[in-house]
């Protein structure tokens, strides 16, 4: 199998996959579960419960707040304590539903058995039915972006889907949740892929995995051959060169089917690809086959100074504090708490932040690594230009954002930036390139939106 990769830029940070071979544990139930109403891209969900209501595991507690939105389901059984504000992964206080946990009673409609349900055994599953079940279960992208999955499966009329690509790359250092999911639930993931292909009405599927996960490649390739050889579907496991940001959806599409998605507002389906995270594929299986809405996920809790880093199957709404305690508590000294990995994760100021639909990891960076170094002047070494996976010029975009030259920023394609952080990682002068580019990008996107609104 020859190893493919994306064509422009890329870096090679240290892997630090400390929890690669740590088997997933089921996390303990929290005493109080906190559910932010905005765990997805789009309108926040609207609460459908009130203080004092009793809920079970799987009860809907908030309905979708619009078309681009998703419902939220309780991951615990107990009583609704209050509807209030609490700090979530954005760093700000946002509206949340807080539930006091009592017992662990599940909704009867959820199938809790281990039986593997196949698509052949369920002829009633038409593409529309599959998409509806995904929508009703509140499944969103589990790679971190949290885009409602049912919308991705129904592309706009201008774009035609040709294939589904499963993103099992997990290129970010430290995170191993997707890898453990593949090793422990490969069959379910493949059925999830089949459901996605059927829902999107395509017959070609790919599973992209980085070469640092040889066991997963072997396992999935073998199971793929067993399952899909001779069937209506063509599914290929594609080993990908270990490089960051291989898991970025545009880079993944470029590597797997050699097509480059044009600049925004184009999306991968404009070149025929629907990209879904492997965790989403698993959630799709559970939603469609087991009638289980999205309320728990695999999360890695890791860090060089954590006593026992591990992978957890955790109910959403569990405060990060509980997981950190289960791993031995916060290390001594300076610590940076990240929701996500060290490249694209967000630094938090509170350990009470709950695990949400997109929290694939809790990373704790300690000591000297936690503090940024003093920035030096830019020496125009052009290393940032050579690593940018989108072919941009980070030194220039950062400078333009710092002097607030929005017109030229737009001209230099700042909106194409995927905020991967390769530039800031590489810069030998420790300059805050991505921080400046982010400000430029959000301002320019605002300008573009208001220009479109005026028309």
């Amino acid at each position: 199998m020859n190893v493919r990769t994306f064509r422009i830029g890329g870096i090679h940070p240290e892997e630090n996959k400390l929890t690669h071979e740590v088997e997933t544990k089921v996390a303990a139930l929290p005493k109080q579960a906190i559910f932010p109403l905005s765990q997805h891209i789009g309108a926040p969900a609207k609460p459908v419960v009130a203080k004092g209501d009793k809920v079970k595991v799987g009860t809907m507690i908030a309905e979708a707040g619009g078309f681009v939105s998703a419902p939220i389901f309780s991951s615990v059984s107990g009583t609704v304590f209050k509807i209030d504000t609490a700090i979530d992964a954005t760093g700000y206080r946002k509206p949340v539903i807080i539930i006091n946990v009592e017992g662990d009673e599940w909704e009867e409609s959820i199938d809790r058995s281990d039986k593997l349900e196949t698509v052949e055994a369920h002829p009633e599953l038409t593409p529309e039915e599959i998409v509806n079940r995904i929508k009703d279960a509140g499944v969103v992208g589990m790679g971190g972006a949290c885009f409602p999955t049912f919308i991705k499966l129904t592309p706009p009329p201008t774009a035609k889907a040709e294939c589904v690509i499963i993103n099992a790359v997990e290129c970010e250092p430290y995170i191993t949740a997707d890898y453990r999911l593949m090793m422990e639930h490969a069959d379910e993931i493949l059925i999830g892929l089949e459901l996605l292909m059927k829902g999107a009405k395509v017959t070609t599927g790919y599973i992209g995995i980085e070469t640092n996960k040889p066991k997963a490649i072997e396992l999935l390739a073998q199971k793929c051959a067993e399952k899909f050889n001779g069937s209506a579907y063509q599914v290929e496991v594609v080993p990908l060169k270990q490089r960051y940001p291989q898991g970025g959806e545009k880079q993944l599409v470029d590597a797997v089917i050699r097509r480059q998605v044009p600049a925004p507002p184009a999306i991968p389906v404009n070149v025929g690809a629907i990209v879904q995270n492997v965790g989403t594929a698993f959630a799709v299986y559970e939603a469609v086959m087991k009638h289980k809405p999205l309320f728990e996920r695999y999360t890695t809790v890791t860090g060089k100074r954590l006593a026992n880093p591990g992978n957890f199957l955790v109910r959403m709404g569990t405060p990060m504090k509980d997981l950190i305690e289960a791993c031995g508590g916060m290390p001594e000294g300076d610590n940076k708490l990240l929701a996500g990995g060290p490249m694209m994760g967000k630094a938090l100021t509170s350990v009470e932040v709950p695990i949400c639909k997109g929290t694939n990891s809790v990373t704790i960076i300690s000591g000297d690594e936690a503090v940024r170094k003093e920035p030096q002047p830019c020496i125009r070494c052009a290393k940032c230009v050579s690593v940018c996976p989108m072919g941009l010029e980070p030194y220039l975009l950062a400078k333009l954002a710092a002097v607030q030259n929005w017109e030229r920023s737009e001209h230099e394609d700042v909106v194409s930036c995927i905020e991967c952080g390769s530039c800031q990682f590489t810069c030998p002068a420790h300059r805050p390139l991505l921080d400046n580019i982010r400000m430029g990008k959000s301002t320019v996107m605002g300008i573009i939106r208001s220009r479109a609104a005026k028309k």
Binding site: R372, D435, R438
Partner: protein, 305 residues
């Protein structure tokens, strides 16, 4: 003699050709400019200071003429020329301008380093916009001043500076031209343009925290908790409570300062009032007031502590 004649003829010829070429170019490539622009430029001070936000007085004149054609001169103002010059310009263009009362930028946050403890350390690009995008900041208040000085950088008149002890910006009333640059620069909309007031006296709520009372108090001791006492006290209907925070409408406020006394967290500030005469009964040691120079909330806090 010959060479003199030749030299004169040649140079004269060159001069004539150059003149013709220049004349033709000036006619063929002429750019039509509205004559009103030149007239307005005459009225403007001609300092080309950039205070209006345009590159020079010509730029402002251009925008004023365009604005007059579009129907409104809103947002266009020469801070150096002031009301007088703007009045003349408006007459020339046949427009009316709002009779502007002098305004000043007001920083509506009193979360000093003492009153609003830090709960985290930010290590990154030291800009308010960047810190705001990262999260609530280094304190537990997600609405308060971040202290990185985007407002200071935006001011072209050297009228706002960070106080290193309080960590908050302070506005120099004399220099502030109410151009609004700091208002736009603040990502949390803490700075507001308010009426300067008679003798520079004004009353405002120095907090924009929309969290519920107990949460706000936990983050900052000088927070507005939205209790509503000020609203009840105000006889002029100038105070409204919305989103757990109080707001004083500067057009209705009569500077009676009853709200200042009523506020339990001392979140309402009165600026440039004379010091009270010592009262016979020790009933209200917490009447805030400052001497007649620039507002200094820190001084008030210390008086009441």
């Amino acid at each position: 003699m010959n060479f003199i004649l030749i030299a004169v003829a040649v140079l004269g010829g060159i001069g004539l050709i150059a003149a013709i070429v220049l004349y033709v170019c000036s006619k063929k490539f002429a750019v039509y400019e509205d004559p009103r622009i030149a007239q307005v430029t005459e009225l403007l001070p001609g300092a080309n200071c950039g205070g209006c936000g345009f590159a020079g007085c010509g730029g402002l004149a251009d925008a004023l003429v365009k604005g007059a054609d579009a129907g409104s001169l809103d947002g266009l103002k020469c801070p150096v020329g002031g009301q007088e010059v703007m009045g003349k310009v408006a007459d020339l263009l046949g427009m009316a301008i709002a009779n502007g009362e002098p305004m000043v930028a007001v920083v509506r946050c009193n979360g000093t380093c003492d009153l609003r403890p830090k709960i985290a350390e930010y290590s990154g690009l030291r800009s308010c916009a960047a810190m705001n995008a990262c999260g609530a900041g280094e304190t537990a208040c997600g609405f308060g001043c971040l202290g990185c000085g985007d407002c200071v950088a935006a001011c072209q008149f050297d009228a706002i500076h960070m106080n290193p002890e309080t960590g908050l910006p302070e506005v120099d009333e004399e220099k502030c031209t109410s151009c609004g640059a700091c208002v736009k620069a603040c990502p949390r909309h803490i700075i507001e343009l308010r009426k300067k007031g008679v003798k520079g006296r004004r009353v405002f709520v120095s907090c924009v925290n929309k969290d519920k009372g107990p949460v706000a108090m936990k983050a900052c001791k000088a927070a507005c908790i939205g209790c509503g006492k000020c609203e009840k006290e105000c006889k002029f209907g100038a105070i409204t409570i919305e989103g757990n925070v109080s707001y004083i409408d500067f057009n209705k406020c009569r500077l009676c300062r009853k709200c200042v006394e009523a506020c339990p967290t001392k979140a309402i500030h009165a600026v440039n009032f004379p010091a009270p005469k010592p009262k016979p009964v020790d009933s209200a040691p917490n009447t805030p007031s400052t001497p007649n120079d620039s507002s200094n909330p820190k001084v008030e806090k210390e008086e009441q502590a």
